[in-house]
Amino acid sequence: MKRSYTNLQKVRTKYQQKRKRNSWIKRKKTNKLLRKLRFEQQKAFNERVFINHIAPLNCSFIDNTNEILTYFNEIKEFIAQGQSVELDISKITHLTPDMITLLLVIFNEKQSRKVGMKGNAPNNAELKKMFLSSGFYDNVISAGTKKVAYNNKLWRGTTNNQVQGKMASEALDMCREVFLKKNIKYDTDPLYNLLSEAMSNTKNHANSKQLNTNWWLYWYFDEAEEKLKYSFIDLGIGIFKSANFSWYRETFNEIFSVGNILLVKSFLNGKITSSREKDKAISGKGVKQILSCAKLPEITTFIIITNDIKIDVKIQKGTELSSNFEGTFIYFEVSFNQKNKDLVADAH
């Protein structure tokens, strides 16, 4: 008993001596200061003022591209300035599925999470139901859980040098199912190619300063319109900025001050090669494969929005946008109404 007491005394004495060392005192002081700093930072973060930014009433990236893009870029500017923003979509009168992906991208950008963002849901009952059951809330911090509806699904991916083939296939399960109900064994190969090439291209469209570019894939089953609506988005640098003909655009811009609109025709004709140097001779077929899907009769809408251009691939027409979209947005609709059912049956 006496022996163990002596041991305890020894440990205690050693510890007391340790505490008198300069390095110990210095470490304790630094930690105290850091704790104070962290507390003040947290206090400032909790007390930050949010700017209420009201969304356009027609909340559709596809139909109201210019207005939504302006709104989107304004948010990005606020975030860049370190200003917290509240996205107010309470008064919107129209909401399309493509907006879900765009809103998620805004919320999930690294800088947005750092600065702080919050938002609300639409007041309109129908739009609110669509928004709450979209899976949006599974990807942001929110109170309570919102049940995701069967008629839509959302995937988040990251370039991280990986192409998620299985995910692309899963995203097409609903498509197969819907056509099967109409007694059509639908060949999803072209759409699988489209989605996996879109994922693969995300890496090429990534900013060289960014380590990873997140992408989002979302489908929405519109039973009223008998359509499956797919949206794919990445916030890289966009197709036209990443393509290897950027020198061509820059030269033309210097002389004639024209934008990427000049390049739309070349893009649609597949005269675009990868900006990658490795295997350059055999690269560049992915974009052609993506665009070829527009020829399918069941694809009734096919839109690409990238940089300052909106391209309707179905009618082979490009439109110049009022502001720049730093990223690539691919949207297509698969129709399975009676008219298209016959066309698809003939085609496959």
Binding site: N161, V163, Q164, G165, A168, D189, Y192, A281, I282, S283
Partner: protein
């Protein structure tokens, strides 16, 4: 079964690859760094060894594309296009295509387009931009 109309291959089939079963039903991406189901991974892990073995033994390699989910261009270019192009650098693209087609038999029970896409890649691995 859809017959292969592109190759008049009368050699014995000694080697077989079922892409969906032996490799992956979800082919995607060009480089191995893009995932284990990429074209490069297929080329290095399955295609190159079997194809060379078929060439050396003067037999055929049957590649079954049945059950695959699509045929992304980055995948077929990273595998079939890559091997044709690399061989083409030595003996010329036409000769390379001919040599590869001589020893490959493509099979696909659920899509004729998939087979066509692979054949097109072997015939023309170089991207035409003009």
């Amino acid at each position: 079964m859809l017959t292969n109309n592109f190759i008049k291959n009368t050699m014995d089939i000694k080697y077989r690859i079922n892409v969906a079963k032996d490799f992956s039903a979800y082919p995607a991406g060009r480089y191995k760094s893009e995932g284990d189901t990429s074209g490069e991974a297929f080329l290095l892990d399955n295609l190159i060894g079997n194809l060379f073995a078929a060439i050396i033994s003067n037999t055929s390699l049957e590649i079954d594309l049945t059950g695959m989910n699509g045929y992304p261009s980055s995948f077929i270019s990273g595998s079939f296009g890559k091997i044709t192009n690399e061989l083409g650098k030595v003996i010329g693209i036409k000769e390379a295509s001919k040599a590869i087609k001589k020893h490959i038999v493509l099979k696909c029970d659920d899509s004729a387009v998939r087979k066509q896409a692979v054949m097109d890649e072997i015939d023309n691995p170089i991207t035409k931009t003009k």
